[in-house]
């Protein structure tokens, strides 16, 4: 008997591990018609893990002090062995993670997987998207470059448009009237401690909801117009006759994760400054405002909306209304049909919304 076998048996006796493997891996069945879009969830789990690991490694050398932060990032990039690789994986990874989150959300949207009984998955997923954008925003300030400083100044300024409490809220977020060392301390704490824990907890909840309802099957043209689900009692989608998660879909996941990693390394090695502007490499200077400071690409639409309207409060209200509508979509769109081509109004609204988001982002970039 080999040592590994002995160890397995030891764990088996105590935890019944073979039963867990059977239930969660080989016995966990997925619909035969499942497609590659479903593996984006696993890709995101992998991306988040990569962000956590690279973030922890960066913490070893990063100094969250306004006088030392920029220099410490420069040291990581230039002197620490493989520091450049870790930092670029972290910075580029955050952008790719947001892009993958958008794709994941769009796939769920067009396959109607947000509908009853998966409303909680949608709400938790949408909240996760916003939290990931929040963690990206707080991380943006940490290098303490001109770009970090002024982008954060612009972003935190918009909070001031909120009536009555806006001014106090800006001061609370910044830790003072202006962006300064206290802001760095706050953003650092939120970026490395608060948001990762909240995101990890919400990922757990998201996966729990997924496990309890069972994964949704991709919609087909031949789906009945009304659901076959009857009554209001709890029901688990077993997908009898489906494919096992392991090894079948696990291999699909691995394919997608490999492609994701290839894309990440493609940017890291061949276009490492895709998400950096020259201002990213100049230390923060509160007395010198650079021309054309723009937020990250995923905030460009929000940025442009704030510019379109004559007052920021109208822009914020429009954005708030839009976000609330998306968050509560499963409670608004209550029809049973999921096949997109049989839902023309939904298709027009969704594609129109995405086109508007892209157009506003391009406009924001060019303006």
């Amino acid at each position: 008997m080999t040592l590994v076998r002995k160890l397995y048996d030891w764990v088996e006796v105590r935890l019944g591990i073979s039963e867990v493997i059977e239930k969660e891996m080989t016995g966990y069945l997925l619909p035969r018609t499942i497609n590659n879009w479903y593996s984006l969830g696993s890709v995101l789990l992998f991306a988040f893990t990569l962000q956590v690991i690279s973030g922890i490694l960066l913490l070893i050398y990063y100094v969250p002090d306004a006088d030392k932060a920029f220099k410490s990032v420069s040291v990581i990039m230039n002197e620490i062995p493989f520091g450049w690789l870790i930092r670029l994986c972290h910075a580029v990874g955050s952008n790719l993670m947001v892009a993958t989150l958008f794709l994941h959300m769009f796939s769920v949207l067009f396959m109607g997987s947000y509908k009853k009984p998966r409303e909680l998955q949608w709400v938790s997923g949408f909240t996760l998207l916003n939290l990931v954008m929040g963690i990206s925003l707080t991380g943006y300030l940490l290098p303490w470059s001109q770009l970090s400083f002024w982008a954060t100044t612009v972003a935190t300024n918009s909070v001031g448009a909120i009536p009555v409490i806006g001014e106090y809220l800006v001061e609370f977020v910044r830790g003072g009237k202006l962006v300064g060392p206290p802001t760095l301390g706050r953003f650092f704490a939120v970026h490395v401690a608060v948001l990762p824990l909240v995101i990890a907890g919400l990922i757990g909840a998201h996966l729990f909801f997924l496990k309890r309802t069972g994964i949704s099957a991709p919609p087909t043209r031949n789906d009945p117009a009304t659901t076959t689900r009857q009554g209001s009692s709890y029901h688990y989608d077993k997908h009898e006759g489906g494919i096992p998660f392991f090894p079948n879909f696990f291999l699909h996941d691995m394919t997608s994760v490999s492609i994701y990693m290839a894309c990440l390394l493609g940017v890291v090695f061949f276009s490492p400054y895709l998400f950096f502007t020259p201002d990213s490499f100049v230390p923060a200077n509160p007395f010198q405002t650079p021309a054309h400071i723009k937020p990250e690409w995923y905030f460009l639409a929000n940025y442009q909306i704030l510019k379109i309207f004559p007052s920021e409060i109208i822009g914020l209200t429009v954005q708030g209304a839009g976000m609330t509508f998306i968050a509560l979509l499963p409670f608004v769109d209550r029809g049973d049909g999921r096949y997109p081509l049989k839902r023309p109004l939904f298709m027009v609204c969704s594609l129109g919304g995405i086109a508007m988001f892209i157009a506003l982002s391009i406009w924001g970039h060019l303006s």
Binding site: S74, M77, N78, E79, I243, P247, N248, F249, L251, H252, M254, T255, S256, S258, I259, M261, A262, L265, G266, V268, F269, F270, P272, Y273, F276, P278, S280, F281
Partner: protein, 268 residues
């Protein structure tokens, strides 16, 4: 219409009054009364203004009073001697005037054959650099037209040839370091090295001993070569990274293909 002849003093007075009115109306008097008044004057009194505006001095906010004295903030008393107005510096005072800012250059100039002949037919700063339309100093200032105002061009040509390659190296290295900076690469040491080398090189511009120019240029080129080698090393490291990256990406895509094929096998 009967042509009216107005004498020069009256024209100047009228211009001054007009300038005063304009400057009070626009608030420019507080900024620079020399430019405001002389800019509106005809002839030799107004001519320096457009020349100065095209100069590196204007680019760097070095105004008239830095050389001519006076008080540019007080239009009425701007040109009074008790406000420090000196007018046109005397020929022998020109190096000292320029040297108030260009301290190192003054020392180099006074020590050179040019400087030693100051006041006895030798050139001053403005002979080569001009007075109001001063451009950024470059090797182009050493040219046959300027040098032959006083002597033959042969020695100057030799010195220019010795310096040309160094100048080219400095310009190229400057661009390469700037490019590294835009990529967040640590370039402080190289920047400092280039700064020192450039300063040493600039001291040669006012040295008119051909042999010294040749030997110093060679020493500076050696230092520049060291900086160039440092940049080369960074760029080569980047190339190596790209090769490793290409291999890693290739491996990942191959893995993706194998996972896909294996997955298909299980599905079937």
């Amino acid at each position: 219409m009967i042509p009216v002849r107005i004498s020069a003093p009256i024209r100047i007075l009228a211009t001054l009054l007009f300038s005063l009115a304009v400057s009070v109306a626009t608030g420019h008097a507080q900024e620079n009364s020399c430019v405001t008044c002389h800019g509106a004057m005809p002839g030799k009194y107004g001519a320096p203004v457009p020349l100065w505006k095209s100069s590196i001095h204007a680019e760097n906010n070095v105004f008239c009073h830095e050389c001519h004295g006076g008080d540019p903030k007080d239009l009425g008393n701007a040109m009074k001697p008790d406000r420090g107005f000196k007018g046109v510096p005397k020929e022998t005072a020109i190096p000292e005037t320029c040297g108030r800012c260009h301290v190192g250059v003054l020392k180099d100039f006074l020590g050179s054959a040019h400087g030693k002949r100051l006041g006895s037919g030798g050139p001053t700063c403005v002979t080569c650099h001009g007075n109001h339309a001063v451009k950024k100093a470059s090797l182009e200032i050493i040219n046959e037209k300027t040098c032959t105002k006083c002597h033959t061009y042969e020695r100057a040509r030799l010195m220019k040839q010795a310096m040309q390659e160094t100048e080219g190296m400095i310009t190229t290295l400057d661009a390469r370091i700037e490019s590294l900076k835009l990529q967040g690469k640590a370039s402080e040491t190289m920047e400092q090295g280039l700064f020192n080398a450039r300063n040493r090189f600039h001291t040669l511009f006012h040295n008119v001993i051909a042999e010294k120019v040749r030997s110093e240029s060679a020493a500076i080129k050696k230092d520049l070569g060291t900086i160039g080698a440092q940049i080369d090393a960074i760029e080569q490291a980047e190339q190596k990274r790209k090769m490793v990256g290409a291999a890693a990406i290739g491996g990942l895509l191959l893995a993706a293909l194998l996972f896909r094929l294996l997955g298909k096998t299980y599905d079937n």
